[in-house]
Amino acid sequence: MAAARGNPRILAFVCSWHPMAAADNAGADGRSYGTATAIVPVDCAGVVSAAAILRAFSSDVDGVLIAACGSGDCHYSNGNESCERVVQETRDLMGLAGLAPQRLRLDLSSDVDGGRFVALLDEFAVELAGLNGRAGRERPAPSRSAGKKPAKASKAKATARKKPAKAKRAATKKTATGKRTSRKKSVAAGKKPAKASKAKAAARKKPAARAKRKR
Amino acid sequence: MLDAGRHPLIELLAYSQVERVSRENGGFHVEITRKARYVDENICNACGDCVAKCPTKVPNAFNMNLDERRAVYLYFDQGIPSVMTIDPDYCRYLKDGKCGVCAKVCEKGAVDFEQKSRGATLDVGAIVLATGLTVFDPTPLTQYGYGKIKNVITGLEYERLINATGPTGGHLNRRSDDQLAHRVAYVQCTGSRDLNYCDYCSSVCCMCSIKDAMLGREHDPESVSYIFHTDLRNVGKWFQRYQTRGEEEYGINFVRGRVAEIAEGPDDNPVLWYEDTRTRKVEKLMVDMVVLATAALPSPDAAALGDMLGVEVDRYGFVVTDDAAPADTSAEGIFACGFCKGPCDIPESVAQASAAASRASELVLSGAPVGKR
């Protein structure tokens, strides 16, 4: 159970050129990363479609990482650039659907250092744990059982969840009097992260400790 | 028809409307309105002098409004009784008190503007219904473009065009340019065997279209016809032979497949889209003229007549008759024959008429009080 603490599910599309070399090196070095991370090697980051990313989110993935070659280093000359466009488009769509765009991360790097690769995953996991903790509303809802999560994290989550609920009620009240539009409401909702930042900070600490232990 | 008109024991009450029917003394008391013709039936000999001088033109309903008649007219040439009628909706004298030229030219003095519609009564022992049919208006089938594409016409319009007394004197001229139509397509089941309109088979259209196509070839040796059908229902003695003869001797092409859509091609030529279900291919065919074999319906006021007489009619307005006694309606003493009880062709109508007449005379001669005028 302890290993699962702050262990968000990450789907990583890894280009089989530079980034995959980095992942291989991480393995050769005996480095480890979150157990809920799945690596999907792709010929080039340019083949990753918006649909594939969105489908991942439909299947209860917490975050999608695309590891592409650094600028100017694409084996197919511009796959990484087209991937940037896809990522931008997908983030726009995620935003409209109420899914935090930070859940999709693109890393453009030709660095084949395994340590960097693992650090990248760890850092992303921390960010996702934070997002999961604070934004109860947009978390993947159905199949994920609460029992999977350690008690502490779920408590933090529960408190974080309460706040948006309150904010929502307040917002509905305001609109009921006709003084506020729902757009203004969304601005009000945007303030919440500050309140939840405590929980996020707490969540950030733990995976870091875990990373140390593994090393 | 002429036989009936001349029969000494048959009195025709043409241009009349049955207003009310009640049962009295075991028979029927019938109230009738005899509409004013403004022409004395006993004097007029239908010479046509009045028609030649009448200045008022009216759409000719008998010719499917393809040409015009005058305000004084003979509904159609073989009509019985053969007397003129003045149309009060159009006649200048009856509307505005001006003109009256027909009265001036009539040598017999048959025109009578003072004539009024009058009531009449009949006491009869039995009634025979023979209210016939009307045809389906294909306008709702917008995919066939009737009313929009000029050279798409109905079967009845074709009948008038090919008829020597019709608007073109028997020439199959196109509505768009008055040129002879050589390539003619017949669209069967227009409104028939269609759950959206008439879910029954109109039964006469297959033979009718074959006949029309044969007539076309007789009038024009270059004529080529296409009959698009769901399946040909030529059920009668020698009917199959007739169809074969049409194919072999009259240039008729039978295509199995209902026409899906008619578009307007260049030069006002209709273009038919269809699946030839034998080759399983979607094809299009451009022709000079399309004839829609429209469904046959009971006459529009058949249902009202049924109500008045207490006779059961079905949801289309066809008179319901007893399966075991096919001339008998649901009301005793009332019989039916012909198309008013369901689609049938002329020989069958004649046979049914004889049956209904003998059922009626059986009843009347059996001792029930015979009607007296």
């Binding site: 969105l54 489908r55 109420g98 | 291919k281």
Partner: protein
């Protein structure tokens, strides 16, 4: 396997007359595809082999065949039944736009997030609760996906709100709205469709709306014709924006300024053949002074489909249908082809872009045209 479908679509009434196949815009271009033969094969128990064939996915569900069928066989539902069967057997159609739209719909069915509605223009008035709700459908998403085509679907949503504001109505635009499920329904994904339907009905109930206005005929058709079949009675009124606006034009609350233009109008399958709304969009165009409506030969119930639907399958055949329609539109001499369905707009714009010829016809959305006329009206 198809027994239920045959029973429900009344396929056993088939006369094999060929009207469906002769009417089908796909069959005219693709001899392999025939609605009649599909029904025939189903009746002959050949359905197992059919499920794996690509023809299952070729139907545009435009409804022309069913509208003309003398036996009133519902071929659209027949197609849907085949697609459900195909999916269950592991066969899928080819998603258009690399599956992005389908993925979005599935995402909305499965996740809980609330939509961002910051796309609503600043000068417009919307609310979160009220009597009238504007169901935006997928318009905000299409704005991202189809920006390259130059189709501004967010603009369509905004012009719809602008017109409603002009009528004195401040519509609800809900953050809890979901895709209506149209495309998932017609591609045989029953589960996701039902999830979306339930979420939407709950959203409307919570908004307090008594009337729901749609800019997209597909959403309108789903709500009014399909939802009641699967999720029970609908407790609110529904109308297309054209129906909504016509009543305000008739009552004199809404009027337009002069706009000199010759336009033609594309009847969307859903709004036309499905819902029978033919006159309202025409009445609206007719109420704009100076706007002349030139009709194409195939209109109303005979209108040609925009060539693609439910984001499945887009081949040479679909493109040919679209180009055929565009040339029909251009032949009317109109400079603008007006549609009242965002998808017609997208599909025809795509084809027009591919065609890339000079003097091509401009494609506009109904509410954009009307909203522009509104602006002209206030200036003068």
């Amino acid at each position: 396997m198809f027994e239920k479908a045959i029973r429900e679509t009344k396929a056993y009434y088939c006369l094999e007359c060929g009207i469906c196949t002769g009417s089908c815009p796909v069959s005219r271009l693709n001899p392999q595809y025939s609605p009649r033969i599909m029904v025939e094969r189903a009746l002959l128990d050949d359905d197992e082999t059919m499920l794996s064939e690509r023809e299952v996915w070729d139907c545009l569900t435009c409804g022309t065949c069913s509208a003309r069928c003398p036996s009133t066989v519902d071929f659209n539902e027949f197609t849907r039944a085949m697609r459900i069967g195909a999916r269950e057997s592991g066969f899928e159609g080819v998603d258009t736009h690399a599956g992005i739209l389908r993925a979005l719909m599935e995402l909305e069915a499965r996740r809980r997030g609330r939509r961002d509605i910051s796309w609503v223009a600043d000068d417009l008035r919307v609310s979160s609760r009220g009597k009238v709700l504007f169901f935006t459908g997928c318009l905000p998403y299409y704005g991202v996906v189809f920006s390259e085509l130059g189709v501004d679907t967010v603009g369509m949503a905004n012009s719809t709100i602008r017109l409603m504001n002009a009528c004195g109505v401040r519509p609800v635009v809900s953050r809890d709205e979901r895709c209506c499920g149209h495309d998932l329904y017609w591609t045989g994904d029953r589960d996701s469709f039902k999830k979306l339907a339930r979420k939407n009905l709950k959203m409307i109930e919570e908004s307090g709306a008594r009337t729901v206005v749609f800019a997209c005929p597909e959403c309108y058709a789903m709500f009014s014709q399909i939802y009641p079949k699967f999720v029970g009675k609908i407790g609110f009124d529904m109308m297309h924006i054209s129906e909504f606006l016509v009543s305000h034009v008739e009552s004199g609350r809404l009027s337009f300024g002069e706009k000199e233009s010759r336009v033609t109008y594309q009847d969307p399958c859903r709004l036309g053949r499905f819902l029978g709304v033919y006159e309202e969009p025409r009445a609206l165009l007719g109420s704009v002074p100076g706007l002349e409506l030139a009709e194409m030969p195939r209109v109303r119930s005979e209108a040609l489909c925009c060539g693609s639907s439910a984001w499945v399958g887009c081949t040479r055949i679909n493109k040919s249908i679209q180009l055929e329609r565009l040339s029909e539109a251009a032949d009317t001499g109109a400079t603008t082809l007006v549609t009242s369905c965002p998808k017609c707009n997208i599909h025809l714009s795509c084809a027009a872009k591919d065609k890339d010829t000079d003097g091509g016809i401009e494609i506009s959305f109904l509410t954009d045209v009307l909203s522009d006329a509104l602006a002209g009206g206030t200036e003068s």
